[in-house]
Symmetry: C2
Amino acid sequence: MDRPDETGSGAGPTRGREATRARILASARELFTDEGYGSVSSRMIASHAGVNVALINRYFGAKRGLLTEILREDGVFPGLIEGDHGTLTRRLAEHAVSRLHGEGTALQRALDDSAGDPDLQAVYQGRITTAMIDPLSAYLGGEGERSHASLVAAVMLGLSRVRLVEGATALRALDRERLTARIQALLDLCLEDFGDPGA
Amino acid sequence: MDRPDETGSGAGPTRGREATRARILASARELFTDEGYGSVSSRMIASHAGVNVALINRYFGAKRGLLTEILREDGVFPGLIEGDHGTLTRRLAEHAVSRLHGEGTALQRALDDSAGDPDLQAVYQGRITTAMIDPLSAYLGGEGERSHASLVAAVMLGLSRVRLVEGATALRALDRERLTARIQALLDLCLEDFGDPGA
DNA sequence: TGGTATAGGTAAACGGTGTTGACCTGTCAA
DNA sequence: TTGACAGGTCAACACCGTTTACCTATACCA
């Protein structure tokens, strides 16, 4: 039962509250990655982590809390919404295309695939705003940019939605560079000033 | 098997298998509209329809079958993907904007709001393809147009996703005509030939 | 050393879900 | 009268997430 040897200093405790918490979190991460969120039950996580079911709710409030924690650690668009303004849409487009092709973290893929679950949805609901639209509009230069950020988010979300729901076979069959360019063009159009009546 | 009071010719039978089926369907429609899909249980539908729970699965296979049936009756973009080619994107854009503003059938709104449920997702998975991308690409002129149709679908789905997940407050605050025009421009860009390197 | 407070963990139950299989019943045909 | 059968009922099944009451081993203190 006891684990007397603390192997490393940075690895965190091997027993006690923190260790158990970490074990649950790691198991959840692994199972979510392999099976998707909805298919993994609290009991599966607990048994995989070798702990009691009740501890999940004790430590994370609910199953949803696990998800929140995991997403908080990862970030949604890590490193994309920063850097050179000029290449922002290009970076986002590349990101979208790579997601279309099923690249990215295994966990990301798994969560994309179970993006239907009400829990996941509820958690995303917050994350999309705080991790995507908020920083994007801040990055673009203030609250007035919020509608532009929303449009960008719509295109990005829509693409992953199409992949989820239809497989996006046709899009993935396209020449990758052409597709990236087109998506970038879409994102650029999202960012154009609304005040401009254009042609 | 007498049917003494057939009120109208088109109203269908008032008892027997078909009547029960219709009663379940009507109750489901009403409850889904008022409460959303996930919040309505099989037992609620059965009790509202005054029938036994088991009949739902007998007649529709599962709760999901009810949804399939209801969506099949309604169509996703009724009447949008037909008519003049020149105004297609305009019609779609108007549709998207009206959805952003929470207009449309009460049922449509309710289902938009519960778009998270795995069941709903599974059903949509088929419907998006057969009722949106398929007819759209056919309408546009063949299988080669499938990638364009997918992009259009992405923008449309993404917009409803943003509304679902963030409320789309910023977008709804925009001048309606300007927003419609911008979305139309996005859709037009989706439809442009990929072969054309453009500017 | 003995006593106790407490952090950490457990077992069992609760109320809910969708779904299923065995059973009943009323109506019609022979 | 008898039998078949469509139509309907009931109780159970196997899960789910969550909560409550309880236990146990450790750590501290008189």
